[in-house]
Symmetry: C2
Subunit: 235 residues, 2 copies
């Protein structure tokens, strides 16, 4: 156990602007499993569901014309570990986290997954403490900046999909993918895949620990070349 | 368009026991994309979030001692397509669905994913129409039977995990996996993997379109043999 996190209640009031009732819930939310029971994993499970739903509802209402695929990609982007961990860091959540000394020594309070999970646990605690309205208020506030400047959902598509759509929108032939080399044992193979967009006279080879990853890298390289050559960037 | 689904309002009142306000929402929820706009994909996106959260909350409250991993496995099992489609079929949802004639002819109203998606859309519509309490009431009723007899979360683990835990709990050596054959082009390979649990004097070969699937099949066969031999079944 650590000297960190002396007053979860004060932190919640000051940083989330939320007037909590049950302080014990927030102590649990801010306790990593390395510090023993009760820790925040169950609250993280609940908070993940609450956050997903609130973000889904926000996007549904905010973008009445958006297709389901775009809404899904935006939600996945918003609730992924990097933005969650960033928000947690901005709130100084790492300094409030209770952790075992091992995790502390190795800097666990700065680790992305630990911060993201703890933020979800805090959201779960607000939901239990104050209901959906309270959780909605906290989430709106925490995500305000990101919700105000969402990326173009098209840019969140994976490179293979984007390359295919780029070519289709120009009525050009689809790219081909070919495994040109593999190395290593079957259990830990590396793949090299060549992506060729003959219609653009472009080709590139990507590398990855799965064929799929190598394909994605290769497609991304072809897209990049296409955008350099012909302004394909945000098409 | 079809002659199906003459009165979504009547169906919702009769089968969900929910007194709806905005009938148009439920018409949309019961319209497959093959029947044109507005269709149910956006409501499905919202309803998926609502259902996930409600099931998460139910499990969180109902099983105060369960670990996060068990809660996650139970939730994934409850909200997967097969049980959703089964519930939808019991409600006669397929007969209420508006579909394009192509989908109708090919029996789309019986297809698992279409039924599961439409049920999520209906849950999204109830949430918008009546709030979280209303959605919670409907979900509790729809899932009552399944929530009353949940499987052992251990049984929801994949075969490799279960075999590993089976051996670890007996302080036996872990199994080995070996690719013994592959066939087909790199892009569409079939794998044969041999799993050997030397400590049990058991081995089996599994087959699959990925190494991982072949390993899982092999592990499952070894587990089955172990349970036959030594009563390892629900260990």
């Amino acid at each position: 156990m650590t000297a960190q996190g002396q007053s979860p209640g004060r932190w919640v009031r000051a940083r989330l602007g939320y007037e909590l009732r049950d302080e014990a819930l927030f102590v649990t939310a801010l306790t990593h499993r390395s510090a023993g029971q009760p820790h925040n994993e169950r609250l993280e499970f609940l908070g993940d569901g609450v956050l997903n739903m609130l973000v889904a509802e926000h996007l549904y209402r905010e973008f009445p014309m958006a297709a389901e695929g775009d809404l899904s990609r935006l939600r996945a982007w918003l609730v992924s570990a990097p933005p969650l961990a960033e928000i947690a860091a901005q709130l100084g959540l790492g300094e409030e986290l209770r952790m075992g000394s091992g995790e502390l020594k190795t800097g666990g309070f700065r680790r992305e997954s630990i911060l993201a999970d703890a933020l979800e646990a805090v959201i779960g605690a607000v939901y239990l403490d104050g209901g959906l309205g309270a959780a909605g208020g906290v989430v709106s506030q925490l995500f305000a900046q990101r919700l105000a400047c969402l990326p173009d959902p098209q840019e969140l598509k994976d490179p293979k999909t984007r390359l295919q759509e780029y070519l289709q929108s120009r009525a050009l032939a689809l790219p081909t993918y070919e495994v040109v080399a593999t190395s290593g044992e079957v259990h830990a193979q590396t793949f090299w895949v060549r992506c060729e967009a003959a219609a653009l006279a472009l080709a590139a080879t990507g590398q990855g620990l799965s064929r799929r990853r190598a394909e994605q890298e290769a497609a991304g390289l072809v897209l990049k070349a296409a955008s350099g050559v012909k302004g394909a960037g945000n098409d």
